[in-house]
Every structure is written in C-alpha cells, then in structure tokens.
C-alpha cells in the first residue's frame, strides 16, 4: 500500500498505522507519541499529540477525513495522503494538546529523576509555548506508596495508560489502574497495595514522564551525568531477555533499564531481578557504550574526551610547534 506523508511516499503493508509508516520514513515528519507504545497492544489514541490531517482518504475514496486523526490508531489505506508538519492546522492542534498536557504538570524538572530522558520535556521544548496561560493552582493528589521499588508521582502523570497496559500484558496480574474520572483520574492501587511482581519494574521504562520512577535510583544522580553502557546476563527469570542498559556513575552501576530505541520504547522487557538487584559490574557482560542520539542531553556527557591538552615541551623547536598547535586547537 502506498501512503504519502508530507509529500514523501512509502510502500507499507496493509494494517500499518500512519505513525508506523511515518517511522519507517523517519526524520522530522514522525509525529510525536506520548501514549502509543508499539510493544503494548491497544495502547495509543489518548494523548492526541500524534494528530495528523488526512487530506486524501485513499485512492478509491479521495475525500479527506473530516477531523484530525490520531495517527497511532489509524491504519493506512492505499493512496492515502497525510499531512503532518506541512499542515498549519496540525501544528496548531498539537500546540494546543501540548499546552493542555502541561497546564497541570508541576514542572518540577529540577528535582525530577526523569529529567533528561523525559518525553514531555522534549515535547514541550519542541511544541510548547514559553509561557503558560493557565493562572490557577495546579492539580495535586494525595501521595500514595506503591512499594519499595517504584516511586509514584501522580502530579507528573499524563494518563497515557501505558503502565496499565504493561501490567496487563507483561506481568501476570495487574493491581494498579485508573481511579476516578476526568481531571481527577489517577493511577492508583486498590487500597494502597504494593505493586510487586517479577516484571513490575517495566512500568518505569514505559512511563513517558516522571510519574513512575525507580526508587533505587531516586535522587542519586542526573541522567546526563551518568554513562549508559550496554550489557547482558544469563537471566533465569522466564520471559526476561537479560539485555539491559547499565547507567554508570564512575565505577558504580547506579541504575539498570531496558534498552530504549530512538522513540523511547524498550526493545525488550526485563525482569525486576535484573533491574533492581544486579548492580555490580561483575554481574554483567559488558558489550560496549550505548549510542545516544546527539539531540539528547545525555549526550553532553561524552565518553571520549577531546584531544588531550597540549603538553608543554622543553625543546624550543617543539615549543614553537606546540604554540602553533595550541593556537589551532583553541581557534577550533
């Protein structure tokens, strides 16, 4: 099936969503997605950041769709023409959605462990306004404790439902879910039960914001001061791939997460033993440094420093050459 997104055509299989077709093309035309998670069935359609305009439904029925559609849940038709960044209407709607997502967000990035790898931060940076028009108190919730491994900050939540789908599909039972409705909806457990399950830690990875963070990593460090390294181990837990990213601070592993791709989705889910209990280098077989996109702030913490500083040499000839080199280096 042929689909054209922002004037770029691609052949995709039937049943592909517009978002996935856009991801096959890649680059700027990929709509942002906060709630859609390709590994979780049924996710998507809720955050509305991936809205796109369908200016031609299909080859057979060229009528445009009357409203903007959620690209993560709309499958392509043959000859469909989609506008994302080329449509001012879409840009405007997306701006609106981002504003809505942020009006009740606490913006506590300075103390949030997710900062640096937060999708809402990226989204706000790209599509948000510099100032808020919202002049009321932001929503707050009663704090609840959901166990010793996972920290819940409900104020930061954007209700993407990803963690609910994760608990349904990755773990063997789900004890947390959405309580209440409207803007009082909250992620909660039934009468303060602890979320405890071999795979419960994955909710941390799927959370696009800082609502669910790793308690064992809490306030330990900013992510951009840590170094991600790919590693694996023979994991005995059934269903765990054992392939992880270790986050080093100096010699210590201070956090273990799944390996995330460029859209922030983990490649494979890992178990809680790998995530919370194996925090020694000796537990792991190191594969090498993790590639970090140069757009990410984590990238500012480079592995290889620039060339070593020019050494002062005693030989006068060399000293002259050294001076030249120094000038060249500093000029660059």
């Amino acid at each position: 099936m042929k689909v054209t997104i922002d004037n770029i055509s691609i052949e995709v299989e039937a049943g592909t969503t517009i978002l996935n077709a856009a991801r096959m093309i890649g680059g700027e035309i990929v709509p942002p997605a906060m709630c859609y998670y390709s590994k979780l069935q049924g996710s998507g359609g809720k955050c509305r950041t991936c809205l796109v305009k369908v200016s031609q439904g299909s080859e057979k029925d060229p009528r445009p769709m009357p409203k903007l559609v959620a690209s993560c849940r709309t499958t392509v038709m043959d000859g469909m023409v989609v506008q994302n960044i080329t449509s001012p209407e879409v840009i405007e709607a997306r701006k609106g959605v981002v504003e809505m997502l942020l009006i009740n967000h606490p913006l506590d990035c300075p103390v949030c462990d997710q900062a640096g790898e937060c999708h809402l931060q990226d989204l706000g940076y790209e599509h948000g306004a510099a100032k808020t028009r919202y002049e009321f108190d932001r929503r707050t919730f009663d704090k609840i404790d959901i166990g010793d491994k996972i920290q819940l900050h409900m104020t930061r939540c954007i209700l993407c439902y990803r963690c609910v789908f994760t608990a349904d599909q990755i773990t063997d039972h789900r004890i947390h879910g959405i309580l209440n409705r409207g803007d009082h909806s909250e992620i909660s457990t039934y009468i303060q039960k602890a979320v405890d399950n071999d795979f419960s830690g994955n909710v941390i990875d799927v959370c696009p914001v800082g609502a669910l963070t790793d308690k064992t990593f809490r306030f330990k460090n900013r992510v951009w001061f840590t170094k991600p390294v790919e590693a694996h181990r023979e994991c005995q837990t059934e269903g765990c791939c054992g392939k992880v990213t270790l986050w080093y601070k100096g010699e210590d592993v201070i956090r273990v997460t799944g390996r995330k791709d460029e859209y922030g989705e983990v490649e494979e889910f890992i178990c809680n033993t790998c995530r919370f209990d194996k925090k020694k280098t000796a537990d792991w077989v190191i594969e090498g440094p993790r590639k970090v996109s140069n757009k990410s702030v984590i990238n500012s913490n480079h592995y290889d420093t620039l060339k070593p500083l020019p050494v002062v040499k005693t030989n006068p000839v060399l000293q002259e050459a050294n001076k030249e080199q120094f000038e060249r280096e500093t000029r660059l």
């Binding site: 009740n104 009321f136 209700l159 803007d183 009082h184």
Partner: protein, 454 residues
C-alpha cells in the same frame, strides 16, 4: 396541534400495563413485522421513513442498520441507549415511565430487523424507578408470548435485558456505553472499528436512542412512506421535545418536525410563552451541548425566515448563527437569566463528566470551567473571552469522542452571541455578582441583510 404517534395514548389510565396497552392496538407492529415482513423489509421500511437518530447526532437510523456487519456464526446485538443525561433532556425518561411497552415493542421489531437474539436496554443508574417499570413490562410481555422463545409461533427468539449503568454522562456515548455494558470502565473506545463491525463483546452491534426505537413502532404500523409524509424535508416524523426553563408550560411535547419555533414557544398548544410575563432572552434548542442562541436568532434565521423545529432549519447558518436540534432538550431563558452563569454551569457539568481519557478534554474542560467561574464571580479579565474561545477551539474535534465538542460548543457560542454580557461582567464586577445584565438587545429584530449589487 400535530399528529401524535408516540404519545397518542399517553393519557389513557393504566397504559403502562400490558393489557391496556394491547387493547389500544399495542404490539400490532410486532405481529405485522414478524408474521408478514422479512427482517430486510423492516430495515427497508425504516430507511423509507427517513427516521433520523433521536439521540442527538441525527444520523439516519435505517442507514445505520444497513451498515451492520452480518458475519456467519457471530451473534449480533441491539442496544438501546437510555443513558439520557444531557442537561435539559428528559424525553426518554418520560416515555419509559409512562408508556414502557412502546419501547419494548420497538425493541422487538428492531431486534427482529437486525437479527439480534439478545438485546439490552442500557439505563442510567439514577433511573431506578424506570428500571423497575421496564423490568415489569418485560415480564408482562414475556408472559404474553411477545418475548422469549418462539415469539408468536414465528420461530424468532429474543431475550431482552435491562442494564443499569453507573450514572455517567459519558456512558451515553455509544462505545463508552458498550464498555460499561461489558462491565468495564466507561471510557469511549477509539474508532475505528465502529460498533457496527465490532461492538458489544466484539460482535456487530447497533446502538439506538430510546425514542428512535420507539419510533419504529408507528413506522411499521403505518408504513415508512406514510411516516415520511409527516414532518418537513429530510426531517421526517414526530419528535419528542423536552421543554424546560422559564416557560409557562414546560414538559414533554410531541411535535411534528417543522413547527415554527415561535409557535412552539408561544403557541397555546405548546409552551404558551414565557412564565411570569417576562421576555425571552435566549434558547438552548437541543440539550446543553448545542450552541446557545439569543432570542432574535432562534425565532428567525439570519435570512429573516422563520426558524422551524427541524434538523435543517435549526442548523441553518452553521455555527455562526445556527444551532442544532440535538436530543430535543429545549431550554428557554427569560430576561432575568445570566448567560455567563449558565455557561459556567454547563462547563462545570462537562468538567465533572469528562472521562479523563484524552488530554484536550480532560484538561481543557477544567480550564474553561475555572475561567468561567472567575468571570461569573467578578474576577475576570477582558482577555478571558479570547482565551475561552481559543481553548474551546483546541478541544473541539481533537478528542476521542464527541464530549469534547459538546463541552466546547456552548462556551464558544455563548461568547459569540453574548460577548457584551461577558464584557459587562468584567467591567462591572461588583454589580455583576448581584444583578443581571438583562435582555439588552438580544431580542431586537435582526438587521436587514444587505444584498450585493448585481
């Protein structure tokens, strides 16, 4: 006074019992449909009648039925949407309370037409008396052989169940209703797939309003062509209007579509004018979610023609100068009513009833409510009106279900037509808390349209 098809026998004592209803010609349509018509014939009759969905959107019912997928070996369902929760609308409750057998008769015929063996009537949880009334009526019908196995010896089986909901407005949205009916949280589903393909328990399902299903009875009795003669243009048949607000005689009226709005408000057969000798200021014509119109625009269209109670005439002029028939919740406001307060009240309702699934509606409805609250209580700013219009625009059309649109329209339209009243609330905050803006120019005759020189 026009013809009555649904409420013809409403004043007969004991019409809520099977025997009286039957003696007045009830269940004749079941006999006619099951014994002489094929299911496709019934669908054809409904198509011919031009009946449009009475729940609000006005989608042709016959067309909806013909979209139902009919795969082999998969059950099909008919669900009656009785989650009537729109502020201003109370017609379905009236119908179910006083003449429950009409709904059951319609359900049998409609289920037969769709080939459903099990059908559900989903009611709002607060309607406990109506649930009891309907269950009793179902038991009576079953005793008389109109429900259950082998109805009237025709070999058609049908079980009918009444299911109370939890009392949420959002469960009136068809996919949220199906979720709720399945016993889940009432969140609207993301479409496609539409219920006609995968609805209740993943099976093809039709969801219809109570009144739409009841209207099937006269259509079958008299034939689709006869029914189509009533009404005007593409708005055929009769419609129940729940008239409320500052009217002399509020209540549920069955009107032939096409009655002028002026007749409906002031006519002796209908509402008999505004209560206490006041003057009309504004009207919400179809339940809280449709745009509000000032008195001059509800009585006349922008082209100075009489506005009629029909799908087309009420929406004449689009959203700039028109509104919608919606679900028929007709609310009239007299000169003492404050539009700002009313708009705030509606916004408060939608804020409370938003399901919280998608971001624009979850966050935007609360935002609009807070700004309107501020305006109503004298803390508003001049920039608030533009802010409200902008927020409503960003909700409208960007949500999963129509609740976002329903929340945005009344706010946007109130500011469009009553902007000076909003501004007065900002400029005179202390007076606005105790006094009302009054009628102002909202009932003035519309200016003559200038015609462009040829």
């Amino acid at each position: 006074m026009g013809r009555k098809l649904l409420l013809e026998h409403i004043n007969v004592p004991g019409i809520n019992t099977f025997d009286v209803y039957r003696s007045k010609g009830g269940y004749a349509s079941v006999e006619k449909a099951l014994k002489t018509l094929s299911p496709d014939d019934v669908v054809e009759e409904v198509k011919k009648s031009g009946l449009r969905g009475r729940g609000g959107a006005g989608f042709p019912t016959g067309m909806k039925w013909s979209f139902l997928a009919k795969p082999e070996g998969v059950p099909r369902y008919l669900v009656c949407n009785g989650d009537e929760s729109e502020p201003g609308t109370f017609k379905d409750r009236y119908l179910m309370t006083h003449i429950p057998h009409l709904l059951i008769e319609g359900m049998i015929v409609a289920s037969y037409a769709l080939g459903a063996k099990t059908s559900y009537i989903y009611l709002r949880g607060e309607m406990m008396p109506q649930i009891r009334i309907l269950e009793r009526a179902i038991a009576e019908a079953k005793n008389a052989g109109f429900l259950g196995k082998n109805i009237l010896g025709t070999g058609y089986d049908l079980e009918l169940y009444v299911q109370p909901g939890g009392g949420a407005y959002i469960c009136g949205e068809e996919t949220a209703l199906l979720e709720s009916l399945e016993g889940k949280r009432g969140n609207p589903r993301i479409k496609p797939p539409f219920p006609a393909i995968a609805g209740l328990y993943g099976c093809p399902t039709v969801v219809n309003n109570v009144e739409s299903i009841a209207a099937v009875v006269p259509i079958i009795n008299e034939g689709g062509d006869e029914y189509a003669k009533i009404g005007i243009g593409r708005s055929t048949g009769t419609k129940l209007i729940s008239a409320g607000g500052n009217l002399k005689r509020p209540g549920v009226y069955e009107i032939e579509l096409g009655v002028p709005v002026e007749d409906f408000i002031y006519g002796d057969d209908y509402c008999q004018g505004i209560a206490n000798g006041k003057r009309l200021k504004a009207v919400v014509a179809g339940g809280s979610s449709v745009p509000i119109l000032p008195a001059n625009l509800i009585l006349k269209t922008i082209n100075n023609e009489n506005r009629l109670m029909s799908y087309e005439s009420l929406s004449d002029g689009g959203f700039a100068t028109g509104t919608m028939l919606g679900s028929g919740g007709f609310i009239a406001y007299d000169e003492d009513q404050c539009i700002v307060r009313n708009t705030w009240n509606f916004a408060r309702f939608y804020h409370h009833e938003s399901c919280g699934q998608c971001s624009p509606c979850r966050e935007g409805t609360g935002w609009m409510e807070k700004v309107l609250h501020r305006l109503e209580y004298g803390h508003g700013k001049m920039s608030d009106m533009d802010l409200l219009v902008d927020v409503s625009k960003k909700i409208e059309g960007n949500t999963i279900c129509p609740l976002g649109d329903a929340a945005a329209w009344p706010v946007a339209s109130a500011i469009r037509h009553f902007r000076d009243e909003f501004e007065w609330h900002v400029t005179n905050p202390s007076i606005a808390v105790t006094n009302n803006y009054g009628l102002a120019h909202y009932a003035d005759p519309l200016p003559k349209l200038e015609t462009a020189e040829a």
